[in-house]
Amino acid sequence: MSTALATPHPQNAVCRVNPAIRAGGITGAACIALFTLATLSLARHGYVQVHDPALWNHSNPPGAGGRWIEFVLVFLLRLVPGIAEGALPVLTIGAGGLFLGVFSHSLVRRGWHPALAALAAGLIALNPVILGMASSGAADFLYVLMAACLVIALDRFEAIGDTQSLILLGLLIALLCLAWPNAIFFILPFALLLPWAFKDIRSYSAATALFVIALTPALICLCAVALGGALFQLPFADVFAVWAAPLHGAGAVIIRQSVWLANYGGNPFGAFVVLGLFCCAFSPAVFVIILRLATSRRERANPVTGIAALILPPAAGALASMYGQLESAWVIIALSLSCAAAWATATSLSTPEKAALLGALFTGLVAAWSTPFLWQSQPHFLWRNALFGS
């Protein structure tokens, strides 16, 4: 039998894939696998995430209370025949895998070695706040990722400052407002940072234009919802009442279970301090931001993105706590992690800084799992036990 090939074949044919895309693809797939394993483990040990029944059943549209995109996503999910409420984690697993895949891809494009980029993504994925939210179908996880996208958009605006980046910022703010009931608590301090990021601001009209362009899409969406409701006799006052209620009209069980609400509801300063400490302890990547702001002239020339990643999560948490709208610190810690990750994709770090970031992520991971601070509420405690089968 001849060993010659039947058809001519280029001996040196190599499938060339961009290394960044390859790294992102592999990392994203690995994270999806990790989150799926966690979900299966939870299911095997009988853990049931308590979701808002109105979310799955679409039983009370005014009860959306600001979660319209979430309702739309669930609506689309329900179109799949045979799907049950337990399939909600599909959304968060997919979103988490995509986010971390893109994170890894962006780091490689910034000069990271693919293995280190994958390691950074893995350290974030293994952090209990991320793992927990991704594997349990928590809607807050989607908001956290969207907020991270907003930080990336802010970086683009700060660096380029063109109209396109401002429009994208405006559209993301609008999307966040439609998706996340607590969006306003994130956007208020965000809006305070905007003028600082706008290099063209030389007059009051420029400042006015900045806010008008950035905030008008959100206003349009909210007014459209209000007007649409009013047209069909769904008063906006009812929707607002649900939104303004503790935890946006969540069930009594959920409100009772919230240790955070009990301790820090109505106490913004205390909440800010504690959340700040939590972010430092469990998302110590913030120290890398501080280090870079202190040592890099380039970072200080465009500081707003770093400051946003640093300050916005605890500030948003504090404002939400003031109005009784924050269920637990997990969301804020996840927000801090995702904003820091967004910042890292927008910055060219030196080798020591990369090492510092990896060290910080690892430290935060160990601290999160080993210290008792994140496990004080029963659902989180049960979640951990179910995950490890204890």
């Binding site: 007059s203 009209s205 006015t208 649409g228």
Partner: protein, 643 residues
């Protein structure tokens, strides 16, 4: 890919130098000025006579006289002694204009006396040989204007007929001389009948289909424009020609550029135009400027003469004929163009000084199928009143966002009304402008694309006067809308052929930017009224009549679509950092009402008087009048100093 044009060797003949020296002797020129002109002619590769005219105002008549003396040749006064009727040949008229000669007299022994602007031009004899293979030639000297005048006198009928009917004769299907074709008439009546029958026998179903179709159309239009706005708002779309590319251009390699400026009863803004052209960063000797005036417009003709502008500013008198439109005038003047590129400016235009060089650089680096470069348009009197502000926002959105977005995505671009720069040969090949179309620019853009050519957008702006007078604004806008209707009807005569030539994306772009805007302007008032009626009757009752998808689309259009269009108006001015205009964007709905008024007028005129050109009133802005007055005062002061 950059094209390196060979530099044509240009030697100044001894006769030319002798003539120039005579001018020095007569005190019309100093030796320094002569040296300056020689240097300019050598650097720019132009004739010394052109350099002297552009730089030192030496008139054609004076030059002809002195050149004739220096060369020992007779002078030919073609106005007093025109050639006999049988000597100039119509087929050669383009050659006469391009090379500046015309057969003048038959002398004895088979010798033909040629009146030429530059008898030393080596290209003349070979060209003459083609027409008169057995003749011998002698030369007389004549002026450039004499040749133009003679060509007009001899071939005016043919030129005028050509300007009006060339496109129609070449391809009647592409001319708006016929407004609506027979098949289109049948289709329109059939659609109308179908709608009436539907509303009569199945009103509910007909209403659902009609509402669904209109809502879907609006959604598609909104999404497309939103996408283009976001794409076009990026900074990278703005940089098409850099300063470095302009600096690399040498005066020698710059081609002759024809500038057509059609005017009608616009004497008051003429000084602004002349001043703007003088400020262009382009060798004046390489500008072939045609002031295109109607022969009956004596006021503007006299005003043009009174300016005593350089010889490069040629007055082309367009014979009186119908339709009396700008494209017909441009077609007529195009027959006299000498430039490799041709641009059309309006009378009150103020182009940025480096615009022509940017265009040349862009043409050089663009593929050969780029036949036109569109500059951006905006207004210098944007703060006059509500109309001028809204006009500015509208134009800013169109030229700063949508057109760059179209260009980036390779979608056919509808041309703007002015500052379109063409490759002259391609423009002539396509039949130039349709004189029967009142938006000849939009039509030409589509024809260019159908023929496989592309339009590029350059990062240079021409500032115009925004129409701030309501009645005049409505007249102008109704003409534009009528023209878009004409363009859509013309090119949709063979929709399958159009689709094949433009492709899916191009075809949809044509519908979105040419077909749908007049349609939406017409039906918007009905939609607003129906919305108001629905609010009074009870939205829930109306909503029950329609299926969820139709309702969702309609609500999206009403609530999100309208508001986002207002948003696009708001962001429109931010690229140019005109932030004080941002709040005015909120008044867009009032502006849309005016569009609808203009659309109704357009539709009625399309039926009753499709080729009527609503002349736009210029010079209404205080800024324009001040500019013109300042320029005139400066010119008078300068003239007084010189005298």
């Amino acid at each position: 890919m950059p094209v390196n044009l060979p530099l044509l060797p240009y030697e100044i003949s001894s006769h030319t130098l002798a003539a120039a020296s005579r001018l020095c002797g007569l005190g019309l020129l100093t030796p320094e000025q002569l040296l300056d002109a020689v240097a300019h002619a050598t650097t720019c590769q132009v004739k010394l006579s052109d350099a002297l005219a552009a730089l030192h105002g030496i008139s054609g008549q004076v030059w002809v006289r002195e050149y004739a003396q220096a060369a020992g040749l007779p002078c030919a006064d073609l106005v007093i002694q025109p050639p006999p009727d049988d000597l100039p040949h119509e087929a050669d008229r383009a050659l006469y204009l391009r090379h500046g000669f015309i057969p003048w007299r038959r002398l004895g022994d088979g010798v033909i006396l040629i009146a030429a602007h530059d008898p030393d031009d080596p290209a003349l004899v070979p060209l003459l040989r083609r027409r008169f293979p057995l003749a011998a030639f002698a030369f007389a000297v004549t002026g450039k204007f004499d040749i133009i005048w003679t060509v007009q006198r001899f071939f005016d009928q043919a030129l005028s007929e050509d300007a009006r009917e060339a496109l129609y004769k070449r391809n009647p299907a592409l001319s708006a001389k016929t407004t609506i074709s027979c098949p289109q008439r049948i289709c329109a009546w059939a659609a109308f009948l179908l709608m009436v029958l539907g509303l009569e026998f199945r009103p509910h179903l007909a209403l659902i289909i009609l509402s669904g179709a209109i809502s879907a159309l609006y959604v598609a239009l909104f999404l497309f424009r939103a996408f283009l706005t976001i794409i076009g708002s990026g900074r990278r779309v703005d940089i098409s020609v850099s300063k470095a590319e302009i600096d690399r251009l040498t005066d020698a390699e710059l081609p002759v550029f024809t500038v057509l400026v059609p005017m009608y009863h616009e004497a008051e803004v003429l000084p602004i135009l002349v001043a703007s052209i003088r400020k262009l960063d382009y060798p004046l000797s390489k500008l072939d400027i045609k002031l295109v005036l109607e022969s009956g417009d004596h006021e503007t003709i006299e005003a043009a003469k009174a300016l005593r502008a350089e010889e490069n500013f040629e007055i082309i008198r367009v014979p009186d004929s119908q339709p009396k439109t700008k494209p017909k005038a441009c077609n007529y003047a195009l027959r006299f163009a000498r430039g490799d590129y041709t641009v059309v400016f309006d009378a009150e235009d103020i182009p940025e000084p480096d615009q022509l060089k940017k265009v040349v650089a862009l043409f050089r680096t663009s593929p050969a199928n780029v036949a036109c470069v569109q500059a951006r348009l905006n207004y210098f009197n944007r703060d006059d009143n509500f109309l001028t502000r809204m006009f500015t926002l509208e134009y800013s959105h169109w030229f700063d966002y949508l057109l760059p977005g179209l260009h980036l995505l390779n979608i056919p671009i509808p041309l703007g009304g002015t500052s379109n720069h063409f490759r002259t040969d391609i423009l002539v090949e396509l039949g130039a402008w349709d004189p029967y179309n009142v938006t000849e620019d939009a039509d030409l853009g589509v024809r260019l694309t159908q023929a496989g050519y592309r339009v590029a957008v350059v990062n240079s702006t021409t500032f115009e006067e925004a129409n701030g007078v309501l009645k005049s604004w409505i007249n102008q806008r109704s003409r534009w809308i009528k023209g878009y209707m004409q363009t859509w009807l013309v090119h949709m005569r063979h929709p399958v052929q159009l689709y094949r030539r433009l492709g899916f994306v191009g075809f949809m772009g044509f519908q979105m930017f040419v077909g749908f805007p007049p349609f939406t302007a017409l039906i918007n008032p009905f939609l607003w009224l129906s919305c108001a009626a629905a609010s009074l009757i009870g939205p829930a009752k109306i909503a029950a009549l329609f299926p969820a998808p139709v309702l969702a689309m309609a609500l999206f259009d009403l609530l999100i679509g309208n508001a986002m269009y207002v948003y696009f108006n708001i962001v429109a001015a931010s690229k140019r950092r005109w932030y004080h205009l941002v709040p005015w964007g909120l008044l867009a709905p009032a502006y849309w009402l005016l569009h609808s008024v203009a659309a109704c007028k357009a539709l009625s005129q399309l039926i009753t008087n499709p080729h009527y050109w609503e002349k736009t009133q210029h010079g209404t802005s205080a800024q324009t009048r001040e500019k013109a007055a300042t320029i005139v005062a400066d010119a008078k002061a300068q003239a007084a100093l010189q005298s």
